[in-house]
Symmetry: C2
Subunit: 390 residues, 2 copies
DNA sequence: TAATAGTTTGCATAGTAAACAAATTAATTA
DNA sequence: TAATTAATTTGTTTACTATGCAAACTATTA
């Protein structure tokens, strides 16, 4: 708990005002005063400061059919900066540029050899420099406001990579290297954390939000009161290694019967494989399922997935759970079967839904994190501007 | 996010100061200034306000062997109030009186017929009035500062009882009745939440704390940054119904293989019963185990308990987990066996320990909650005054 | 005398209320 | 129809206030 002096309260109110400007695409000073409860005079001084800093701009409105002076609209200055979100996965690296209104400006998929960390990093920096150069087109307007990086592994609370199961990275520092290369603040976090953060930022805000990412493993991201839950050392969310089958399949983690051996997307592929066919992409699987009945495999998969979802619900009583999974994206009807399996009396949640962000969630969340840090706000609400390519 | 004005900042600093006075049994104004970073003048005005309100008192110190003026010690005024914590369980109701320094003043065990809610409440109110009368001895000094109530069931965020599995209470209001009877604020919460809160308040503060209560069921209480995690509607922590054995034993909740069917204290009793002997109290069990080898039952119990503990660790990456269990209280050596079973690479926690508060945790937490609300602080640290009977 | 505790005084700051200025629509009047 | 007036809303200015801060001051004690 921090002491309060006039500097503290000034920053607090600045934050409150900025958060509203971010949330509501167009606001006048008097609307800000109404929404925040702050005095009109206070709003004026604070907004004028933000104008001087170039963070926001004034624009005119269309004529209104109400009497009285027309309001001057305050909005984010798009030329004040842009953010970059990077999702470094084993096989492909997803890069998304966003403007300060949260809109997706540019996107690129890189294919880096992630097994050699240093050369991957060199390659990433070089390619990113090219992309930024093209985007800024010679000038340096808008400037780079910050970079967010998602790692599929454990990242501690100081943006340091602790461990990644796929590449076996141990204690590596991507933050410092990128900060030196781009002279902008870099924030690194676990991909599940950034995915849920993206869902949080681009969806209507509730008190809490949980996001299950089902790919080669299972990740759980949790947002409570706009804060990502990271655990004591940033290790939270290793829910894939929740044991749901004692003496079950052996897991590289050292235990038996971990959830992700049964309910990850990879586990589903394996189930199909055991029944004969081999698949490597979701498209192949979807096509296969159109013509072939795989009721038994699907039933088994849903059975185990539902066990874990039941557990998450009983532990957290979440308002909303979002499932980010290629399988569910292509077969949304499976969701009903999961919901039907949640039979416990104590299962209490408000909404279970499928992600609309899918594979881009992590990179978008990374960009949103960079944005949040750049502005110094606590809450980012970009629900008004869904991050389409346009 | 609230706006900041002079009133906000004044309360903020008042809270910071009060929290330090609560935490450190004896502090002078100048020490407060050093600790909080606030100016000496600010401390003086704020402390003088607290003195006027009668919340704190000044006492003299012993002679120090340092030069300079002796400090005036500020401490909580014990005559400013006392709190009551009530743990309403199926068979017995535990009542603890605490002073404003967190010390246990008085304790009483009541045996109420909890199956008839209304008559239980009448009886409770009457007995409590007697207890308070005896304690205050005719006068009304110290006054009753607040009452906390722990319920073994689901309590929503408005202190309303939603459901208790044992007594089958549904949608009942204990708060209003007690507030009318005692003219003091009443706060109701789930017993696992209050138990972890007690551990938090009476232990050295860390960033987070998790407490597993193993009695007839299993409860999980979570404290993060001094805030009890309650979930969306206050239903969080129903971890006893986490499924750890698919198609396992049937549970009244509607599912199969819930954790508490395998790892609650009751489940251990059942295991022993299945092997021949029947026990009803922990003393009987402890005595039995002194003479009889029950290696097989213990091994099975530890096996299932460890699965759930593994899951908690992987989901939360907690700093500390506390086990509150009659079995572990009488056989602390079992803890090593649990720790030995946590084999996952990802198991990351700092400390797994056995509760020192045991059956009193809930009532102490209830009293601490009442204290917190009474003072209007966010953090309560009573680690200096372990709540012994003296 | 030196050191430490605590108070007093005057100042700086940022928010507030209220008055004011500006801009715009709607109604009224010439 | 055109000009005037009223009403309404936005945003700024001004005087004021509460509170924290720094520094000077008083009090107390080895």
């Amino acid at each position: 708990m921090h002491k309060g002096d006039w500097n503290y309260i000034r920053n607090l109110n600045r934050r409150v005002i900025l958060e509203e400007i971010v949330k509501n695409a167009s606001l006048s000073r008097s609307e800000l005063a109404r929404i925040t409860g702050l005095n009109k005079a206070t709003i004026s001084t604070q907004v004028n400061d933000l104008l001087e800093q170039g963070l926001v701009i004034e624009t005119r409105t269309e004529a209104l059919d109400t009497p009285g002076r027309k309001p001057i609209i305050i909005e984010m200055n798009e030329n004040a900066g842009f953010t970059v979100g990077i999702d470094i996965d084993e096989l492909s690296t997803n890069i998304i540029f966003c403007d300060l209104k949260g809109r997706r400006l540019h996107q690129k998929q890189l294919h880096l050899d992630t097994y050699h960390f240093e050369s991957m990093l060199d390659e990433l920096i070089q390619q990113l420099q090219t992309e930024i150069g093209v985007f800024q087109n010679g000038s340096s307007i808008p400037p780079l406001a910050g970079i967010g990086v998602g790692i599929h592994g454990i990242v501690n609370n100081d943006s340091q990579i602790v461990y990644t199961p796929k590449q076996q990275w141990v204690d590596l520092d991507v933050k410092t290297r990128l900060e030196q290369a781009f002279d902008a603040p870099v924030h690194v976090d676990n991909s599940a954390n950034l995915s849920v953060y993206a869902e949080h930022v681009y969806a209507k805000h509730g008190s809490d939000l949980f996001c299950l990412t089902l790919y080669s493993g299972i990740g759980l991201g949790m947002v409570k009161d706009s804060v990502i839950y990271r655990g004591y050392q940033g290790f939270a969310g290793e829910i894939g290694h929740m044991i749901i089958e004692p003496d079950g399949k052996p897991c590289p983690c050292g235990n038996h019967g971990c959830w992700e051996l049964y309910a990850s997307n990879k586990a589903f592929f394996k189930l199909l494989h055991e029944s004969g066919d081999e698949f490597h992409t979701q498209e192949q699987v979807s096509k296969h399922l159109e013509t072939t009945d795989a009721e038994q495999e699907i039933a088994e998969y849903i059975f185990y997935l539902s066990i874990g979802v039941n557990n998450v619900i009983n532990i957290f009583n979440p308002e909303r759970i979002i499932i980010n999974s290629p399988l569910f994206a292509s077969m949304p009807e499976l969701l009903d079967r999961v919901e039907a399996s949640l039979q416990s009396k104590f299962n209490n949640y408000d909404e279970l839904k499928i992600s609309g962000l899918n594979e881009d969630a992590c990179a978008l969340g990374a960009a949103a994190l960079a944005f949040k840090k750049f502005l110094g706000v606590h809450h980012v609400d970009h629900s008004a501007s869904f991050p389409s390519s346009q």
